[in-house]
């Protein structure tokens, strides 16, 4: 079962490359199929708990191990679900090949896209620090290929900058892996957990790995490559990059910090990541407010929203046991990752709709779109609400849990960060939305846009809101195998 999650998209990718004419069909079927497998697989984890699988029957340390717990299951579901919707959108977005023998954007997109999905799935299933490196590289290379798809100078330059940043990141990570292996002779996340100590080589190893991963996650001040790369790519690619790809390296950081090294990391390291997250929230949001183009605004918003993900680090590193406060921070941070994935993909897809309708993604071209593209307007509004963290939405649940964790941990200095971040987010979301209330400019015709594109963007935005209503199940799934209290309710100190 587990192997199909990886095999299916890779096989689909090869097939889509060989049979370029059938790329879109293969692409949609493969992503949908992968999602279906992911659903069944998650149900198994829900019932039976974490699962381990030895690829080819080789055991540790020589063989490749797959391991999946609740966290992996949630990431697989997000990738599968959003992936399928992006596939659906892309069918309408990319024009099919015009003439035989010509290699179009459409033909390049599908194989790379399927490799990206396969790489992400393999990443979420990998059980050791080196395999994670390999899968992360697959993801990165596919992502860079996709980012360069537009083929113009801006996109090419942005992709190459992305590639260099990613290379530095992965080399730093690899050095860290080597240091770890030199000390312990182990690579498995969980096996390492039993033996790691806080001596100098280990601290250095973790630092190198973390810096490398942060570079790939684009945490401030290592975010410089993200806005150009995410804004010059075609809309579905931007959506995948912002929504899914940055979550890959974030996922590894989580595994390292809160599985392998949990309880060993110094308080100040967590505070440092929190501080960087704060800077990211402020800087990203501030830059987003200043943008004139919608896709750049959304890309800078990603920089800011990534900052929120790192607020869980200072809280959890300050705990010594997996207590209630840690559980709040954990589910809050991951809920942020999930609802951001949904909301951000939706926003980029909407930006693509706007681009097709008016030929530009300048924010001021959104005047009067409410009348012509009501679904897209709604999608932008709903996704924006979730990003701000207004109820009822996934973003709200994330902020609620985050805020409770912050207050519960006594680290009150993060309160203004969360609140100010929400206000700044509201600032750029409404900056964007206010144009939809302005009357349309004369002689500015709207081209019709495929209803599928509008519908998929809308569906994702609705998803970002609806997960706020099914938070309980998602959080329970997230906690499977991580050892957090299953029902994190504090005995209230006040009563």
């Amino acid at each position: 079962m587990i192997i199909w999650l990886v095999l299916l998209p890779f096989a689909g990718g090869v097939l889509a490359f060989a049979l370029a004419r059938w790329g879109r069909v293969i692409g949609l079927l493969t992503t949908a199929g992968t999602f279906a497998v992911g659903l069944i697989f998650s149900a198994q984890i829900w019932q039976n708990g974490p699962q381990r699988y030895l690829v080819g029957g080789w055991s540790v340390p020589l063989g490749i191990n797959f391991f999946a717990d609740g966290l992996s299951a949630v990431m697989l579901l997000i990738t599968g679900g959003i992936g399928t919707i992006i596939s659906l959108y892309s069918i309408s977005y990319f024009a099919p090949t015009a003439r035989k023998g010509e290699w179009s954007e459409n033909d390049t997109f599908w194989p790379l896209w399927l490799f990206l999905v396969g790489g992400l799935n393999a990443l979420f299933l990998s059980a050791d620090v080196f395999n994670v490196y390999v899968t992360l590289e697959v993801v990165t290379l596919a992502a860079i290929g996709l980012a360069a798809l537009a083929g113009n100078a801006a996109a090419l330059t942005a992709s190459l900058r992305y590639l260099f940043a990613a290379l530095i990141g992965s080399m730093a990570y690899l050095m860290g892996v080597a240091l770890l292996y030199a000390s312990y002779g182990l690579l498995d996340f969980q096996a390492l957990q039993q033996v790691v100590q806080t001596d100098a080589p280990t601290v250095l190893a973790l630092s190198l790995m973390t810096v490398g991963l942060l570079l790939k996650t684009a945490l401030f001040p290592l975010h410089f490559w993200l806005p150009p790369a995410h804004s010059t790519a075609p809309a579905p690619v931007s959506a995948a990059l912002s929504g899914l790809v940055v979550k890959g390296s974030f996922y590894i950081t989580l595994r390292l910090w809160f599985e392998t090294f949990y309880g060993q990391i110094h308080f100040s390291a967590g505070q440092l990541l929190g501080a960087l997250g704060t800077a990211a929230i402020l800087w990203g949001s501030f830059q987003a407010v200043r943008q004139k183009r919608l896709k750049l605004l959304i890309a800078y918003s990603t920089v800011g929203q990534i900052g929120y993900l790192f607020l869980l680090f200072p809280i959890i590193t300050a705990t010594t046991s997996r207590d209630v406060v840690a559980a709040w921070a954990w589910s809050g941070g991951l809920f942020q990752a999930i609802s951001h994935a949904l909301a951000k993909t939706s926003m980029f897809l909407s930006a693509g709709v706007l681009l097709k309708a008016v030929g530009t993604d300048e924010i001021k071209s959104m005047r009067g779109i409410a009348g012509h593209l009501p679904l897209t307007t709604f999608a932008l509004a709903l996704a924006g609400i979730s990003l701000i963290g207004l109820p009822p939405s996934g973003g709200f649940v994330a902020k609620w849990l985050m805020m409770k964790a912050i207050i519960g941990s006594g680290q009150w200095w993060w309160i203004p960060v969360v609140t100010l971040g929400g206000l700044l987010t509201a600032g750029y979301v409404f900056l964007m939305l206010r144009y939809t209330f302005l009357p349309q400019e004369a002689n500015h015709p709207f081209k019709p846009v495929s209803p599928v594109m509008q519908g998929t963007a809308f569906a994702l935005a609705v998803g970002a809101v609806v997960i706020g209503f099914r938070a309980k199940e998602l959080i329970t799934l997230l906690n499977i195998g991580m050892g957090f209290p299953e029902v994190p309710v504090l005995e209230n100190p006040g009563l």
């Binding site: 207050i407 609140t419 409404f430 209330f437 504090l490």
Partner: protein, 498 residues
């Protein structure tokens, strides 16, 4: 799902569904849109009627849905929600009629009525929320659904106003959010109860509770327009008249005031809040707001602006009453929640009529207008006199109880505040009435087009609400009057055991 648990969701759902349906109506389907609007408003009134009868027979309506761990979505009918939901149900119906008449022939009506209905759904949700988190959800929902109404005209001015409005309300919402989360960490998810639920908190945490109280009141105070958080309200006047009417009477401003009522009575418990020592500062703040709002109202020449400042002052009567420990003050506060709503909505309807029919916005242009629009100005006069506190109109009852409440709470200075405020009310309302009825017209009015002074859809609503204002005062002593209901609730608040 039983009938009892479905009822609260149905009440919120009718407005929500109406709103969503209207969004997807084509702009030109005017008749269908109006039908839907009235149907939604009417249906809601029916549902409200059912729960009133049911509650009187002792039925309990409750809808609970666990949202996240330690956090339930709870809609519940208690006496307080009954008071507020009836107010919003009735006034929504009237305002819908008015809005249909007011926006006749203007653009983007589907958008307007869509958000209009959703806004009412939000304020109903606020009324029925059974715990602080559910309240907060609808409170933010209200912010979001009123923003499009404020910027509806799409002019630079309205967009600027919208920005100010959002800036204030979202900041307030965030502060409220921190307070709610903090309280949740401290005591968990507690439902509203008329005795409050914090009295048993260990004294060690009382400083934290005071901090939480300040955060909650600051967050709610933005919408309740407590000085110095009132800045958005005069600016938001650019919205169309029905919106202003609704904003000032039942939706936004009232949501803030109602929130303060809930926090003091149903979360902290009035005796406990009193023992924490937070009520006196609140009373002082409310008094400052009352005087300040009245003073600023005097200098406004724009009628809607004058009414806006008047709202700042009048809504704080509710807060003042809440902050007076004693059953009489509470009665005054709760009854004013209703009275202020029906009187203020009348005033805004009338201001809208004058602006829509004759294009007049400034008070200095309204000399002799009583002769051209006698019915409108008649309604206006009733409501304005009520605001001043002239018996037998509703406003008198509220002020009477508030003053007695001040004495009962051992704060005789409250009486002075009320007297000064009433004088100021008179000073800014009477000149309008004088100009309208007794001054010679400085210009000739555009002649009537029909038999009536303006369209019937615009004329009937203010007459109805002015009638309410009069009736609420005249029949205050009878069963089922707002006063009787307020008294009943106040008794529950003070005499039910924790």
């Amino acid at each position: 799902m039983t009938w009892e648990s479905a009822m609260p969701t149905l009440i919120v759902g009718t407005s929500l569904l109406t709103g969503l349906l209207i969004f997807f109506l084509e702009e030109k389907r005017q008749r269908l849109r109006s039908t839907l609007n009235l149907l939604g408003a009417g249906l809601k009134l029916v549902f409200v009627g059912i729960i009133i009868v049911g509650t009187l027979q002792g039925r309990e309506y409750e809808f609970r849905f666990p949202l996240v761990l330690g956090f339930d979505f709870l809609l519940r009918v208690d006496m307080l929600s009954l008071l507020f939901v009836t107010l919003s149900g009735v006034l929504w119906f009237v305002t819908t009629i008015y809005a249909i008449g007011y926006l006749e022939g203007s653009e983007h009506r589907s958008r307007f009525f869509g958000f209009f209905s959703i806004c009412v759904a939000a304020s109903t949700g606020i009324a029925l929320a059974g715990n602080l988190i559910t309240f907060f959800i609808f409170y933010e929902f209200l912010t979001l659904s009123t923003y499009p109404l404020v910027v509806h005209r799409g002019t630079e001015e309205s967009l600027r106003a919208g920005r100010t409005y959002l800036w204030y309300t979202i900041t307030g919402g965030t502060v409220l959010f921190v307070g709610v989360a903090w309280l949740n960490v401290l005591v968990g998810d507690v439902d509203f109860s008329h005795a409050g639920s914090l009295a048993s908190v260990a004294p060690y945490y009382h400083t934290e509770l005071i901090a939480i109280f300040v955060l909650l009141i600051a967050g709610l105070g933005v919408k309740a327009a407590l000085v110095p958080l009132h800045g958005w309200l005069p600016v938001a006047m650019v919205a169309p008249a029905p919106v202003s009417a609704l904003l000032h009477a039942v939706a936004v401003v009232k949501a803030g005031a109602f929130g303060i009522v809930r926090v003091v009575y149903d979360v902290f418990g009035v005796s406990f809040a009193n023992s924490l020592g937070v009520l006196t500062p609140l009373a002082i703040l409310a008094s400052i707001t009352i005087i300040y709002g009245s003073l600023r109202a005097m200098t406004q020449d724009d009628l809607k602006k004058r009414l806006a400042y008047s709202t700042i002052s009048q809504v704080s009567y509710i807060t003042l009453g809440v902050a007076l420990f004693g059953i009489t003050g509470t009665i005054g506060s709760l009854v004013h929640l209703v009275h202020q709503g029906i009187m203020k909505i009348t005033l805004f309807f009338c201001a809208g009529n004058v602006a829509e029919t004759l294009g007049l916005h400034r008070i200095s242009e309204m000399n002799g207008i009583g002769r051209r629009m006698p019915v409108t100005m008649g309604a206006f006069t009733v409501a304005a006199l009520g605001m001043i506190g002239l018996p037998p109109i509703a406003g008198f009852i509220s002020k009477w109880y508030l003053a007695l409440g001040g004495l009962e709470a051992g704060k005789p200075w409250v009486v002075v505040v009320l007297l000064v405020s009433s004088l100021l009310n008179a000073a800014y309302f009477l000149p309008i009435l004088h100009a309208a009825w007794f001054k010679k017209p400085s210009q000739s009015w555009s002649p009537r087009t029909g038999k009536l002074e303006t369209s019937a859809m615009l004329l009937v609503p203010p007459v109805i609400t002015a009638g309410f204002s009069l009736a609420a005062g005249l029949f205050a002593a009878s069963n089922g009057s707002p006063l009787a209901l307020a008294r009943q609730i106040a008794e529950l608040l003070y005499y039910s055991s924790p």
